[in-house]
Subunit: 290 residues, 4 copies
Amino acid sequence: MDIGFVGLGSMGSGMARRLVGAGHRVKVWNRSPGPAEALAKEGAEPVSRPEAAFGGEAVVSMLANDAAVREVVLGQGLPAARPGLLHLSMSTITVKLCQEMEAAHARAGVLLVGAPVLGRPDVAAAGQLNILAAGEEAAVEKAAPLLAAMGRKTWRIGPRPHQASLVKLAVNFSLAAAIEAMSEAFALVEAHGLDPHIAHELMSGTLFAAPAYQGYGRTIADRAFEPAGFKLPLGLKDVRSAMEAGEAVGAPMPFASVMRDNFLDAIAHGDSEKDWSAVSQVARRRAGLV
Amino acid sequence: MDIGFVGLGSMGSGMARRLVGAGHRVKVWNRSPGPAEALAKEGAEPVSRPEAAFGGEAVVSMLANDAAVREVVLGQGLPAARPGLLHLSMSTITVKLCQEMEAAHARAGVLLVGAPVLGRPDVAAAGQLNILAAGEEAAVEKAAPLLAAMGRKTWRIGPRPHQASLVKLAVNFSLAAAIEAMSEAFALVEAHGLDPHIAHELMSGTLFAAPAYQGYGRTIADRAFEPAGFKLPLGLKDVRSAMEAGEAVGAPMPFASVMRDNFLDAIAHGDSEKDWSAVSQVARRRAGLV
Amino acid sequence: MDIGFVGLGSMGSGMARRLVGAGHRVKVWNRSPGPAEALAKEGAEPVSRPEAAFGGEAVVSMLANDAAVREVVLGQGLPAARPGLLHLSMSTITVKLCQEMEAAHARAGVLLVGAPVLGRPDVAAAGQLNILAAGEEAAVEKAAPLLAAMGRKTWRIGPRPHQASLVKLAVNFSLAAAIEAMSEAFALVEAHGLDPHIAHELMSGTLFAAPAYQGYGRTIADRAFEPAGFKLPLGLKDVRSAMEAGEAVGAPMPFASVMRDNFLDAIAHGDSEKDWSAVSQVARRRAGLV
Amino acid sequence: MDIGFVGLGSMGSGMARRLVGAGHRVKVWNRSPGPAEALAKEGAEPVSRPEAAFGGEAVVSMLANDAAVREVVLGQGLPAARPGLLHLSMSTITVKLCQEMEAAHARAGVLLVGAPVLGRPDVAAAGQLNILAAGEEAAVEKAAPLLAAMGRKTWRIGPRPHQASLVKLAVNFSLAAAIEAMSEAFALVEAHGLDPHIAHELMSGTLFAAPAYQGYGRTIADRAFEPAGFKLPLGLKDVRSAMEAGEAVGAPMPFASVMRDNFLDAIAHGDSEKDWSAVSQVARRRAGLV
């Protein structure tokens, strides 16, 4: 397919590379030129403006946040898009923005598929992402080969693109909750003089034998928060986005409220550059362990 | 070994049966005679008073709560125990009571091993429990054959019996937190018109692919809270016990506080006979979904 | 003085009337013409566009929310203002917007005084408002006669206009907290079979003998939430604004988080048209009293 | 009247002195003899055992906590009391214990009036306490002259003694909530670079012009937590007692839950000897201001 790709960050570069590797002709754009030049060596075609990436059969966007999507997609790419274009919006954005995008794409006659992902850069580079896809049946079908090149599995969420953003935020909220639960459990154990690793090994070897607990539990017990896999302020942003999605429908989320306060506490204590699991230091500090 | 077993509830009966099956001579006691008679058919020897179960090489106690342990163990069995006896305390009790038991057992010259378990009655009957064992090296070693007959694995927690109670409470707190996190995430998704099963399948197939999320997530999405696997007031009791353990060392547990309030909300709405995952109805009710 | 006044709602109309009564020549503007015509009878001069109110020595704005201030002040009035104008911004707005206004006014050479108020429409009509004033010494001095005409007392907050917004939000947060505290205390008392009025009379006659507790306590005990003095969604807005101000400086506000969730709960249960003290029904509902 | 008085702490000594001054013949008992000897100089009659104070027409108890009441009243005084005795229980105790006392007094044929107080030692010494009285009409009437000698006003709560404990706990919960609300409001203001005294003066001069806010607000703004008027762990105890009273009837108290965690945080940071308003340091510490 003739496609475009905007947003070549640590996630996007790996995803675009997978598409090139699958034989698609990919026009790539990034705010800073470096990543595009790197992909050029592998057969991608760098373009100087986002608009140029919206002229083919499909375009994939993998941008940092709502602001970048508003500027690059709503402000530049979409107005230049040809009717009939398929847009895979894979950035993690708010439900509200995705709902605005649904309306804007409908007006522009562009097919929109919300397709945020689960996975870190190494997983993206290996084409093993879990992709949450929401949109009209036909649009998701048309996107199938592109999704197949980037992910290990596509999870069908529903007919409206913003539903994928909603579920992605629900998953990130659940991850933050798992981090906070372990933080409190481990601080309790440590405050009683026991090594948290003992609780972590038991939990991640039995009822909680899953990546979320095995990976973050180890990080928390080891207190190895740098380098950051996902920076703490991004965790605050996603929890806040989940809370805003709850506010839109009158859904209280007391766990999210606790986490928001704890992320602020962590930021006030200088942990903005650390992994979001560093929020676990809040429970330790409050218990007098730091 | 010549041993005793007090407390033949749904868990205890299966555990005692495993010990009989392993060739041990087991004197069994239960407040109501039925369960002891049933075990007699398989070779156990019913005794009419707890004291009679504290006369062998070892005794296992699997009682309902702190009150039962105070009465049966501290009040009846221990005063009659012969010095040198090994006591495996497998009930889920508070850290405070287990610390009192440590002192009482030392005075009586009885070896104490704290050995609470993870697993439901069917797992106990199959001898596949995960056992948390804490106590002096020699005592845990002496208990090894009995633990092996009841569990799939023994997790060594530490040298002091109450440390096993502490970690058991930390695990149950984490389970309750997982239930609440899914409750809020699913209510958010449902309030936006999406079927929570979609979020559950995604989560339990990826980052949260563990029994805690797969099992309880299904129960919550299906709203199948009866029959109860673990009644809601018992969940409140364990969360409160974890909070008390935190209070003893100045460890705040805001997630536990949220859960305590939600369990009270659920009880005020008549869900005391349901499974503790029925606390998920609180998030739905607060969002106007019930 | 030759002044302008934009925003003639239930508060603004009474405030503008006080200025006319004090002998100032007041150009008045409101989105809907009715209120301006009513003030014309008392000597005010209705103008058809906000710009016309920004041409004198001073202008007072009393608008509904951030959006109205962005449109009417930043979008229309300020660009047309003559350098040297004094602007009294008396609307309750976010700290963030007030900080943007500080920059915009500096660029326009317009003096800005942040002057939100405490008091209901009847208090405004009587010129008995408590006014929080923040801004440069000279600007607040110049505003003194206008403030004196509208309020019983001017409280000097600090040199920067946004500081008045900050303290106003802190006061409204404290009011919401008092409402929630009484809600929980009264629900506890009622759940034990006692009439909450007994607790209210004791509290408002002793340690809590202040308007916040006497007035709202009565409303809560009587459950007389209509007509609304201050609608519930406005309470949520102010609590959220306080939380955002906290987020800007890394200040966790767990009480605000609890209130935000409770306001959502109340909205999900159809109380959006009621007084914000109707949030007290959340504590009663959760305790099974509704 | 011939009466007894047990518990001569900083509150009890002043109250007993008032009764002596009113012309009653008072047998006084205290665990340590000092306070009784001091009162002897003013005409009271020291007795060596609590039982001796339960032999007249009435007895007043003002003890430190549940444990002291269980020992001195239920364990020693009540068994020795003559039928028809009137007992004014003025200690701040749990609802649960007061309910146990109702049953025990009924069995002993002793009239019980629950009469906890609002006020500090200086207020007690001046006979200006606010007294919460609950019990049978006749009992409270009979107690009237004694209550009049100790308080400025008696607030009738209800027919059952424990109702006074319940309302007392609700009031102390409300005080703790006011302290936490100011703590968060002042930390927010301070984190933005403003002196909290400005917010305190505004609040305590307008909507919150009541002792609770004027007194504690000043203490919090001044950070003058020593000497302690009411030690922090006692605040935790009363909040916990309110939570237990809520638990008994299925009433969630999310504000109380936040406060409990904050009191633990304060204790973990070494503030156990300070006034309970020192819990305000938790909000400052979490915001990075300490």
